[in-house]
Symmetry: C2
């Protein structure tokens, strides 16, 4: 088990990072071997080297980092070692920035307890994303980790996400029921958040009305997926001007494919932060 450099529960750590960096931006770490700059690709630890450079370049501009497990897993055991190095690096070098492991896991309760071991004990991250389909009881091993953020998929940003999420149950869409169940039944420890995509601002506003201001949203779909930042901020922001973790991955980390990738990522992150803040201040 890792020693956390600075103990603080996820939601307080997030709130402190929002304030400290004046940023709602989350940089998604999605290292893809085919997209890495050539000089990084040749390293023995290309994903860690790449992640490390992005982290150092953008740490002052973000409220969180979000490594996506899928990308590291594609390199097998070596990738998992690099994911662990990446999480360690953030925790030791940038201990004020929370780490969200985007792994969207979901299984029965006894199995989920092993996923909590991977995320919270082995990697030592501050928060994770999880599926809703198995129901609250299955996720109790996650929810019991009071100091961690448990971010439940509600409304996704991808094309075709309406297939089941928009099905009508008692006249309201399935994702609305997911939001209400998380609010009323999953969130007994106050450690739940929701994933609500930037590609559907009206849904974002609806879910914000439903769950109130105490539940932050992780918002994917900004940047490469085409989400509109003004609409996103206006729809999801809370009365204190926070409440959002707006993720951008590709448009920041691959802003340049050359040797200047870290500087380009820094510029892209600062721009994204400032653009978000422009609409945030107008609330």
């Amino acid at each position: 088990m890792k020693t956390t450099y600075k103990y603080m529960d996820f939601k307080r750590k997030l709130a402190a990072a929002w304030a400290r960096n004046n940023s709602l931006l989350c940089v998604g770490l999605d290292p893809n071997i085919d997209k890495l700059p050539e000089h990084v690709r040749e390293s023995k630890t290309p994903f860690f080297d790449f992640s490390k450079a992005i982290i150092d370049a953008t740490a002052d501009a973000v409220c969180a980092f979000k490594p996506n497990s899928a990308f590291y897993e594609a390199r097998g055991a070596d990738g998992i070692t690099e994911l662990n190095q990446t999480c360690d690096y953030i925790k030791t070098q940038h201990p004020d920035i929370p780490v969200i492991l985007d792994f969207k896991r979901g299984d029965i309760d006894t199995t989920n307890s092993h996923y909590t071991t991977f995320a919270f004990d082995y990697l030592g991250v501050d928060a994770v994303t999880v599926q809703p389909y198995e129901g609250r009881k299955a996720f109790q091993p996650f929810l019991d980790r009071k100091d961690k953020g448990i971010i439940v998929l509600c409304r996704m940003s991808n094309k075709g996400s309406d297939e089941f999420q928009d099905m009508l149950v008692d006249g309201r869409k399935l994702y609305v029921h997911v939001a209400e169940h998380v609010r009323d039944e999953w969130n007994a420890n106050g450690n739940c958040l929701l994933v609500v995509g930037a590609t559907a601002p009206q849904e974002l506003a609806e879910v914000r009305r439903l769950v109130g201001d105490d539940m932050p949203f992780l918002v994917p779909g900004f940047g490469a997926q085409g989400g509109d930042i003004e609409a996103t901020v206006q729809a999801g922001i809370t009365s204190d001007g926070n409440g959002l973790i707006i993720n951008s991955s590709r448009s920041i980390i691959y802003a340049s494919g050359g040797e200047d990738f870290a500087e380009a990522a820094q510029q892209a992150a600062l721009q994204a932060r400032d653009e978000i803040n422009r609409y945030r201040k107008e609330q």
Copy 2:
């Protein structure tokens, strides 16, 4: 990329294993460090050593092996190495037995393509379990792998799985819609299967009626979770006496916690196979 010892698509490989071993039983490989026999726990590769012994002891009694990623992930990068060793071992020593990676992944399409790399190229497994919540378009990178089995969660076996799965959409439960969508929209390549739990035999029968005999079911919940084997077989079996991959994990692999664990697993597997076959023959 691994060379497959003997090329055959998943559904044909499964059908051949059903026939060859006269078995619908799948042994789930869920290595839990706290439950391993003491002499195995002390190994440098405890999960591989344990899995290997279980595999050799039960290979003649099963139609598939199902390593669950969560358990291996709990040991981090070392666990992933051992998962890879385990998959390799089955493919080289027992090449006729299909390997189902139970990892229940789900993300947007570009991310899912990295999970396919992990499962099919790095580990080289024959089939995987996936979530339904993101919708068919998100899973296209999985569905495009025509030779692989894509096993979609439909009706789970865990307590509380009814929370969303039983919600009524147009008068029918959500899991029924999932089954129909998989039948009509996801299965263009004929490579889809469904997860339908043994703890709900009436639902199993309903889903079988809906999707017909061409779609095998992975059935968890038998054994430690309390599913009734007679009811399960009668509800889910196809007209040719097959169609089911009935998984048992804990009640087989932990049949003994001592040095005789492999022999005990063999006995438990043979018993489970025979019990299944008793009801199978009465159809």
